[in-house]
């Protein structure tokens, strides 16, 4: 008796890297970085071990909401070229498994952040996970073209959580950091949607170019970029900013506005001629733009730590 039949599933079994991919490591990188800036720039600095543990909790919380997003959005992800290889749509990880991992890690990250730091930080982390997984993923994403505008709040919370973890309170500085990410999100994603329009159309996700057309989207990219630019410079005049931040922010925002204006003044015919070169360049620059602003705040914190501060500097 040696007759054997393979009755397993055709889908390849998941490895550790597939479970790690559930947590959206690329998004987590931005979350970790902005949360780190919130932690480091706060006027009260906890013990480095506590700060590191808080940072891990925030990262895991963000990863958990990513897993919940992948569980809920598996049907959309399957249709879109950009997301078809994710662990759930590719069949490596079961959707329910993604949900279980998401819920477990959410609970662990919030409880640990509470035990390590304070209730405000833990509450904000819980709200962020809820906002991303329920308000954005389950509700807004499939129902309104403003999905990315309101949903962007979820990505904007990490520096506020980092700040709250250290100080136990919220002040103007983390609010400005929040606004920086919040207002940056729409032009960043709409620039992507302009050259990935077909993807969203196939998946029937009501992104702005799908619902309102590309002309309106181009106008909105410019409007949001215009509102963001002065707000992005404002942290220079708070205790976390300074001359170095001001110079950097002015340069970054000049390029930012020039890019947004270039998108605003083009139409689809122009874009198709050069294969969306301007939109792609603006999208790539937008990532650098956000990282650079937070990196400048980090540099300012470093300069303050070594006592290199200007005597007289206008403060808000």
């Amino acid at each position: 008796m040696s007759d054997a039949t393979w009755i397993g599933s055709d889908a390849p079994e998941a490895g550790f890297s597939d479970y790690y991919a559930l947590l959206k490591p690329k998004v987590m990188r931005l979350v970790v970085f902005t949360a780190l800036v919130g932690l480091v720039t706060a006027p009260v600095m906890a013990h480095p071990v506590i700060a590191l543990a808080a940072l891990i909790c925030i990262a895991v919380g963000a990863g958990a909401s990513g897993a919940l997003n992948m569980w809920w959005d598996a049907d959309i992800d399957r249709v879109m070229e950009r997301t078809a290889k994710r662990p759930v749509p590719s069949g490596k990880v079961e959707a329910t498994e993604a949900m279980a991992i998401g819920l477990t890690l959410s609970a662990f990250s919030v409880v640990f952040l509470f035990l390590f730091t304070n209730a405000l930080a833990a509450g904000l982390l819980a709200f962020t996970i809820f906002f991303y997984a329920v308000v954005y993923t389950m509700w807004l994403k499939r129902s309104t073209a403003q999905n990315i505008v309101i949903g962007g709040a979820a990505g904007a919370f990490p520096p506020v959580i980092g700040w709250a973890a250290m100080t136990g309170s919220i002040s103007l500085e983390p609010i400005l950091m929040f606004l920086l990410i919040f207002l940056w999100t729409p032009p960043h994603f709409w620039a992507l949607a302009l050259f990935r329009n077909g993807d969203y159309q196939n998946a029937q996700v009501p992104m702005l170019p799908v619902v309102a057309g590309t002309r309106a989207t181009r106008r909105q990219v410019w409007l949001y970029a215009l509102i963001l630019a002065p707000l992005a410079v404002l942290p220079a005049f708070t205790p976390v900013g300074g001359l170095f931040y001001l110079i950097g922010a002015l340069v970054l925002n000049a390029i930012w506005l020039a890019g947004a204006w270039a998108i605003r003044t083009r139409d689809d015919w122009d874009a198709e001629q050069d294969k969306f070169r301007v939109e792609k360049r603006f999208f790539g620059f937008s990532i650098l733009y956000l990282f650079a602003h937070f990196a400048l705040l980090l540099v300012e914190a470093g300069l303050r730590a070594v006592g290199w501060e200007l005597g007289a500097w206008p403060m808000l």
Partner: protein
């Protein structure tokens, strides 16, 4: 012995099939994550204790609010 070698060459044996390699990596990964979690809790506990955090537990007393029986 020859059969076992042949099976291994075909990728069917317990040692040879790549699925076992992947499972081993998964098990190791989960192990490292759990060990890191324990280490993190331990390190935070040490830091908090050495900072002189106030410790108050239930300590074999049946009470729903710590310290309620002392009032």
């Amino acid at each position: 012995m020859a059969d076992a070698l042949k099976a291994k060459a075909n990728g069917l044996s317990r040692d040879g099939h790549e699925v076992y390699g992947r499972r081993q990596t998964l098990n190791k990964g989960v192990g490292i994550v759990l060990a890191a979690t324990v280490l993190m809790i331990f390190a935070v506990t040490l830091v908090k204790l050495s900072a002189g955090i106030e410790m108050k537990g239930f300590d074999h007393t049946f009470e729903t609010t710590p310290g309620a029986g002392e009032r």
